[in-house]
Symmetry: C2
Subunit: 540 residues, 2 copies
């Protein structure tokens, strides 16, 4: 091998913010905070505050490789820790505060976090967990002096720590393969598992996700992440936005229609994204108030399928394009996103919309996808043949944190646990989670496809489909429906709605009504549904 | 250091084409050829042909680390070698056929190329040089059977070599820091120097250059590179286009107005770029024929300053945005490109155009820029203070090929040899080459600024300014003007045009008329002008 003779510059997270401060120094970062007014900063200002935060972290004893945890919303202070902690060579462990106490405790102890930064909203939670935390010695509340409360844990005040430091910091040069962020996944079974992002993976993801095949950011975009910063870094938006010089708007935890609308109009938000629930509330708010969506152009939706009516309303009434996106903590997180291509556009606008709204998205440079059958043979790109979805690339997991073995096969592929198809346009569609697929008489039924049809039925708010044991067919689908407030729905009505829209043998054997249980990340908790209703067909 | 636990996938050039074949397999690659009709292929087809080319290279004895040279135009066959050669782990040495014989011989011997691929246009050249080539053992003409001529060098036929192989190839996994492409710079003095691009540098450049701050490609773009593939890889377009799923149109050497227009209209070209001369000819062709620019949206221009009238005509008459770009072989080559920002747009369209047309471009993620004074202190971003332009980053040179020492300073900065300013919007402007700056009585005069004013004077085709020795002022500017055919121009007329547009002490001491000598890369050969006219003021 003859080595190339270009510079061996490592890819480092802090270089993203340094670039933004230099190239887009005056571009704003605007943030809601807990119990404090909206604050306005800039990328130049954020670099200075991040320098102070790094010094404060050093003063608290944080060294390279140490884990620093957060229980925090989408705020400017959390954003600063996204850079200050990895910038030092330490590892930022963003913890999902919506998990059960036991899971949060498990994560903090497993990560061996030494310092915990938390928003005021979580003071009671932190006080409750503190006695069980084995390694956290220092607590810092992400507040200013006026809002600060030390609580039973004697928390320090973030703004006071920053005020004690001066601007300027000599960032160390790091190995680009060093760990930078640690995000835990929480399945419905088993302990949470940590995914340790490297500087290299984060920076490559941040560059590639800004391309027009993905987020397609330019310097005129105003980006408001409404998925959580603690959840796989909110699609990496805190990294992709500054690279592209986009103004960044951070909504804290205030995701209701009125609060979002205030930011969208006042700050000129052009791009946002999050789970469908938020956007249902937002559209309802617009409907009630007669408002418009301002400069908003694109909403990316991940986590669950986009209701067709929502996508239609956004487009026809407000001129906003809804795009699906798919990824997971193990892919840091971008896998695919549904953006137009000429081949699809040539089929006409309806077909294009159909693809964009019903496919998770198309192949992106930097993450390889394939669908394989039970023997590991690759399925054709025909949009029909489903199989296990495997992924590979520089921002895909190799091994879980403190795991004893790699979680990839001999060729480096990671099994996502999803069942999917890929079509001739390179668009991937998730048809099920592997553990949720329904095996009826040797054939597969897609629970997600059934849910997507049912959720369009008038009156249905959430539709959940699970397979439950059946004496004759091994498994058969049942459907649990949560209706909109005030809607009256019967099993007969739902079945009548489904009949012309699905093949007959997919028809659920039972339609039940009640609250659909959700996981801490807002997904349908199918395990809980199977636990509750698993025996309903055994008398059949 | 705690290593991150993501996959250690190396960044490899061949993965770009593999991605395009998979995600955009049906997207076309269209090419003119020497003495053959236009050919049409696709990214899927190009991967298969590249697999065959790799097998053919192996059969010719090419091994990892070997240098494989080309003397070739912008064609599909040259494009295939951009992937096949680095894909094998060998190094592609693209040689500029417009150099002097001695320079080409020097480069091929210095690179120790074993195989030379050449277009039929260069058969006589290759025959002439062959006796002096110390390492080239194998000659391959980039032709099909019907057009093939073995000549005195017994050249093999490219298409016959491919026809002998089968589809499919197992590409080796390479170290991403391995050398992939070797491009020589040719100054006006000294021997050419080789810049050895790594796989890592090329892939990072290819991803980042597709962002909206730079080329801003999407899958609807049709990209036609009109700068030479042998010249710093034509802005890396053969790599950036496939990543973004863009159709690629390769014009061979036919850069005259009629040939370009045929491709622009028939292939739906949206994006092109090259030196100003080409676009002067193209606009003249449109003018003569009354044609329009079809779907063309953007033209990037580098190499020399964009004449204001050209940019105005493109925009007002044909709806095409002209963007300046700056880079060099040592930066692989993208440095900056002039794309809009909100801060500039807020000043109004005229100011925005002014910036886009008169600045080389704005700061890009992945390549750091600074301007320093004679003591190495960084100059303010005020658009006024000029100094030496320094660059740094993962696609910037560390050392020349077979050089004995690094060419960067202790902090890793490479001195570009350009004199530049950076303004408060992050836009860089080249004011001179360091060796061309004119030192008059202790003050600096920008030869480029003077040329930019003079070239707008009616009748002027090219204006070249150099500093020559002066008995009193150390140096003073003289101007050499090449007039448009049929234009009559006097020194008095030119000086009258300049007078209201420049400060008085910048006024050239002499305006001469004649042919302006150009270098092999189409730049003004200032050394030759100084050699010819260096003494004209010594009698003053």
């Amino acid at each position: 091998m003859i080595p190339g003779l270009m510079q061996q510059t490592p890819l480092q997270v802090i270089d993203i913010l340094k670039f933004a401060a230099r190239a887009h120094g005056g571009v704003e970062v605007v943030s809601r905070l807990v119990d404090e007014p909206i604050v306005r900063s800039t990328y130049a200002g954020e670099l200075r505050r991040t320098e102070r935060a790094a010094k404060a972290l050093q003063r608290l004893g944080v060294r390279a490789g140490d884990r620093v945890a957060t229980l925090a919303w989408n705020t400017l202070r959390h954003f600063e820790l996204f850079y200050a902690v990895p910038g030092l060579g330490a590892i930022l462990n963003t913890v999902n505060p919506r998990l059960f106490d036991e899971q949060i405790t498990y994560i903090l102890n497993h990560a061996e976090a030494g310092v915990l930064f938390f928003d005021k909203s979580f003071l009671a939670l932190v006080e409750r967990l503190a006695p069980k935390l084995e390694t956290v010695k220092t607590f810092v509340m992400l507040s200013d002096e006026s809002a600060h409360e030390p609580g039973a844990v004697g928390a320090q005040c973030y703004e006071r720590l920053l005020a004690q430091e001066s601007d300027g910091f000599v960032w160390p040069t790091l190995d680009e393969n060093a760990g930078a962020m640690l995000c835990y996944t929480s399945g419905t079974t088993g302990e949470p598992k940590g995914v340790l992002y490297s500087h290299r993976g984060i920076v490559l993801h941040a560059i590639a996700s800004g391309l027009n095949s993905a987020f397609g950011f330019d310097a005129f975009d105003v980006v408001m992440p409404c998925s959580s910063l603690f959840h796989a870094s909110a699609w990496g938006l805190p990294f992709a936005a500054p690279i592209n010089g986009c103004k960044l708007v951070l909504p804290c935890e205030k995701m209701d229609g009125a609060h979002l609308q205030e930011l969208i109009l006042n700050e000129g938000v052009t791009f946002t994204g999050g789970v469908p629930t938020i956007w249902t509330m937002y559209l309802a708010h617009l409907e009630q108030t007669g408002g418009n969506a301002g400069k908003l152009k694109r909403v990316v939706i991940g986590g669950s399928a986009v209701p067709r009516a929502m996508a239609e309303t956004f487009k026809r009434k407000y001129g906003v394009q809804v795009l699906q996106i798919w990824g997971m903590t193990e892919t840091a997180p971008l896998g695919v996103i549904a953006t137009p291509t000429p081949a699809l556009a040539a089929l006409g606008e309806d077909k294009l919309d159909e693809a964009i709204w019903t496919r998770q998205g198309r192949l992106q440079f930097g993450i390889e996808l394939k669908v394989v059958d039970e023997n590991g043979a690759e399925a054709p790109h025909d949009g029909e043949t489903s199989g296990a979805l495997m992924v590979r690339g520089p921002w895909t997991i190799q091994r879980y944190f403190r795991g004893e073995r790699d979680v990839v096969d001999a060729d480096g592929w990671f099994d996502t646990g999803d069942i999917a198809t890929i079509d001739q346009f390179g668009f991937m569609r998730i048809t099920d989670r592997k553990k949720d697929v329904i095996k009826s008489g040797g054939e597969w039924i897609s629970s997600i496809d059934l849910e997507n049809v049912a959720v369009a039925c008038p009156g249905v708010k959430i539709a959940a489909v699970v397979g439950v044991p059946h004496p004759k067919w091994e498994e058969r689908p049942i459907m649990l429906i949560e209706a909109h407030e005030g809607a009256e729905l019967s099993e007969q009505q739902v079945l009548a709605y489904l009949a012309p829209r699905i093949v007959k043998w997919w028809t659920p054997d039972r339609v039940l009504f009640g609250l659909v249980p959700l996981t801490a990340t807002g997904k349908i908790n199918k395990k809980a549904i199977r636990d509750a209703y698993g025996q309903v067909l055994m008398g059949a």
